[in-house]
C-alpha cells in the first residue's frame, strides 16, 4: 500500500513563530487532506487539497501532486495550534480509503 511520511515528527515553537510541515507520498495521491488533532483527541479537517494552494486564515497548504508531496504552513502560531497534524490521502483505485501518516506533534509555548 501507499506509504505516507511526515516531517518533522516533533516541533516546539514559541508563540508567534512560523512553521512548515511536510508530507511525502510513495505513490500518486489524489484527494489529499490535512487534519489537526487537538489535545482532547478531536480530529478536524483543515484542508482538502489534491493540488495547488489553499489558504484559511493563518494556515495554508500546497500540494505538488507530480512530485508527491504536500506542505502545511502555520504563520504567527498560537498556543491553540498545539496538537498533532496529520496528512492523509488515498491512492487511485482505493475507494478513497485514507492512509494517514504518523503525524507531526506541534507544541506552541506562550
Amino acid at each position: 500500500g501507499i506509504q505516507v511520511e511526515q516531517s518533522p515528527p516533533d516541533l516546539i515553537l514559541q508563540e508567534g513563530a512560523n512553521s512548515t510541515l511536510r508530507c511525502n507520498f510513495s505513490d500518486s495521491v489524489n484527494n489529499l487532506q490535512w487534519f489537526h488533532q487537538n489535545p482532547w483527541g478531536q480530529l478536524i479537517n483543515l484542508f482538502y487539497i489534491p493540488s495547488g494552494t489553499k489558504q484559511n486564515g493563518r494556515l495554508s497548504a500546497t500540494t505538488v501532486a507530480t512530485e508527491r508531496y504536500s506542505l502545511l504552513y502555520i504563520s504567527s502560531s498560537q498556543t491553540t495550534d498545539s496538537g498533532v497534524y496529520f496528512c492523509a490521502g488515498p491512492y487511485e483505485g482505493s475507494n478513497y480509503k485514507l492512509t494517514f501518516g504518523k503525524g507531526t506533534l506541534l507544541t506552541v509555548n506562550p
Binding site: 484527494n31 483527541g41 479537517n45 482538502y48 496529520f86 478513497y96 504518523k102
Partner: protein, 112 residues
C-alpha cells in the same frame, strides 16, 4: 449542522469481554468510516460503508471485530472477545461524497 456523534466516550473492560461502540453520522452523509487509532500513530481504517453496504473491510480483524450499518444511517462496531492490543481510540467519520471526512470525538477503549 450537528457533527458526528459517538458513544460511549470511554470504556474499560477486561480481556475476553465484549464491547460495542455506536456512531451517528452527519445527516445525509452516505459514507461512514470506522478507524482505530493506537497511541502515537495515525488512524487506521477498519471498515468503510457506502449507505448500508460494505465498501472496504480489508483491515478489519474479522475473527473478533464486526460492524453493521442498518438502514444506512447509524452504525455499530463490536469487538468480541477483546484483547489487550485492542486498547485504542475508535473513531467514526462520515462524508457526503468520497472526499472530505468529518470525525466524531472517538471512544477511548482500555482493555485490562
Amino acid at each position: 449542522e450537528a457533527g458526528v456523534a459517538q458513544s460511549p466516550r470511554y470504556k474499560i473492560i477486561e480481556k475476553r469481554q465484549s464491547v460495542a461502540f455506536w456512531c451517528n453520522p452527519i445527516s445525509g452523509h452516505a459514507t461512514l468510516y470506522w478507524y482505530q487509532q493506537i497511541l502515537g500513530q495515525g488512524p487506521k481504517l477498519l471498515i468503510q460503508f457506502q449507505n448500508n453496504g460494505v465498501v472496504d473491510d480489508s483491515q478489519l480483524p474479522k475473527d473478533r471485530f464486526s460492524a453493521e450499518r442498518l438502514k444506512g444511517v447509524d452504525s455499530t462496531l463490536k469487538i468480541q472477545p477483546a484483547k489487550l492490543e485492542d486498547s485504542a481510540v475508535y473513531l467514526c467519520a462520515s462524508s457526503s461524497t468520497l472526499g472530505t471526512q468529518y470525525f466524531g470525538p472517538g471512544t477511548r477503549l482500555t482493555v485490562l
